[in-house]
């Protein structure tokens, strides 16, 4: 099986070294599968996710050592951050559509790369919205503000916006934590479709969600990667006592 992303001995420090947040993480993320990162709040799962598209670069005082490769290429050496983030798209915890129309939201990333051709943009907007299972709901109001959509629709809009850049990997940081069960179900179904084309890494608070949608699961605790395995194995026969305690609901 081919690994899309490979993480080796990754350490991360906040506040110029004051807070050691990730301790020597080693993790391989296979292509075209869903990898779930689980663990209690503050365990470092979101921090690790944000290492994969270098979103942590935006935070002052973050220091990283170790190796993260995408297609065997070190993403912290000789890589243009913008093109990395196009390849590794991200969907955030709270849907964050821009204050513009639905159409302009989807076209934003392409326009930022200098694409102005109307025909291309129209095609990409339609294709992305279809892939995000949103087209039928919004095709008659592409020019109306994105804030008029419901929370679940907004999150699917953000997924469509990411897909529009034709990434290889989609990172999702608790994408359904602010949504009701029906909207959550739609996003989970969408993730199952998307994994045929994209490598998906999802941070989730919900163990049930990890069980439902992921192929592999990694369990984090206080900055350590405790255990990672096929999702079924990790939940049925965890090797580590701490994992067993967490998946049985003893803590967290």
């Amino acid at each position: 099986m081919m690994n899309k992303i490979s993480i080796k001995d990754l350490n991360l420090y906040y506040g110029n070294g004051a807070n050691h947040a990730l301790h020597g993480i080693n993790l391989d993320i296979p292509a075209r599968q869903v990898t779930a990162l689980i663990g209690p709040s503050g365990c470092g799962k979101s921090t690790l996710l944000r290492c994969l598209n270098r979103m942590n670069d935006l935070i002052e005082g973050v220091k990283i050592d170790g190796l993260v490769t995408l297609d065997e290429q070190d993403i912290y050496q000789n890589v243009d951050v913008a093109s990395l983030r196009i390849k590794v798209g991200m969907v955030f915890q709270k849907a964050n559509p821009f204050p513009m129309s639905i159409y302009d939201n989807i076209a934003y990333g392409l326009r930022a790369q200098g694409v102005t051709d109307k025909k291309t943009l129209n095609e990409v907007v339609e294709r992305s919205l279809r892939s995000a299972a949103l087209w039928d709901e919004v095709k008659d109001r592409l020019k109306s503000p994105a804030f008029g959509l419901s929370g679940g629709q907004q999150q699917r809009l953000c997924i469509a916006r990411t897909i529009a850049m034709e990434p290889d990997v989609i990172l999702m940081d608790e994408p359904t934590s602010a949504l009701d069960p029906i909207a959550t179900k739609k996003i989970e179904d969408l993730i199952q479709t998307l994994k045929q084309k994209y490598t998906i890494v999802i941070v989730t608070h919900s163990m049930q969600q990890a069980r439902r949608i992921s192929d592999r699961t990694a369990f984090f605790l206080m900055g350590d990667l405790v255990e990672h395995n096929n999702t079924n194995i990790l939940f049925s026969t965890p090797a580590d006592d701490r994992t067993r305690g967490y998946v049985n609901g003893d803590f967290g």
Binding site: L58, M90, F92, Y108, A112, F147, C158
Partner: protein, 286 residues
Amino acid sequence: MSYTLTRARKIQDTAAKALIWLGASLTVGFLLWILWYILSNGLAHVNWEFVSSDYTSIGEASGIWPMIVSTIYMVLASIGVAAPIGIMTAIYLTEYAKPGSKLVKVIRFCTESLAGIPSIIFGLFGLTFFVGVLGLGFSVLSGALTLSILILPVIIRTTEEALMAVPQSYREGSYGLGAPKIYTITRLILPSAMPGIVTSIVLSIGRIIGESAPVFLTAGMVARIPESLMDSGRTLTVHLYKLTQELYTIHEWNQAYATATVLIVVVLVINTITKLIASRFNKATY
């Protein structure tokens, strides 16, 4: 046991409520009183001829058209200089500078100090530097440069607040899509902050219109339409100041009140426009 308010607590409550109402009604009351006072004295003497005719000090003509034009020039020139500098400084402070860096602290200290300096000192500086050293003379340009230093802190501060109020999630979303920084700023952050930026400019316009001392010290008091930026000009407020220096006849009093009426109407119009712009931006985006 049941809880009922004690008599003392009830009196306290009533007294507090009365004080709050008193404060609120005094604020509104004073505004209405001043408005009524100025308008009732001035409105009768404002007519098209007053607004559109020339002015001579010896009294053949006593209109305010040259002052209106000078005021407009002064506003355009000052904003033209201060807005780009102020907005770019604010963008630097919020989007580029490391938070808490030395340079940020220095810029912040400078803008705060500038904001606290009495405006006549800017006038004195403008008189020495722009009028004298740079040899710009008493001109609209000298006045506008002086006023632009005066309004710079307002523009920087208000724009900075507007930029900081743009949700961090917009920036993350944009950078997460691989959008370049300058694209993110010009296409996403600035448009989102536009109501705040417009407000800062309108507040500055109010300040420019309202200043007198730094204006006549640098732009002079010539009551003619300036033919260029290098000509002297008399703004409405300076004109009112000049009129109040020599109030001998009832005619001169009327002129002063009429000028004050025009000034007040202009300020009210500007405030209304600000509100409209802000609400239109809000509707367009949210």
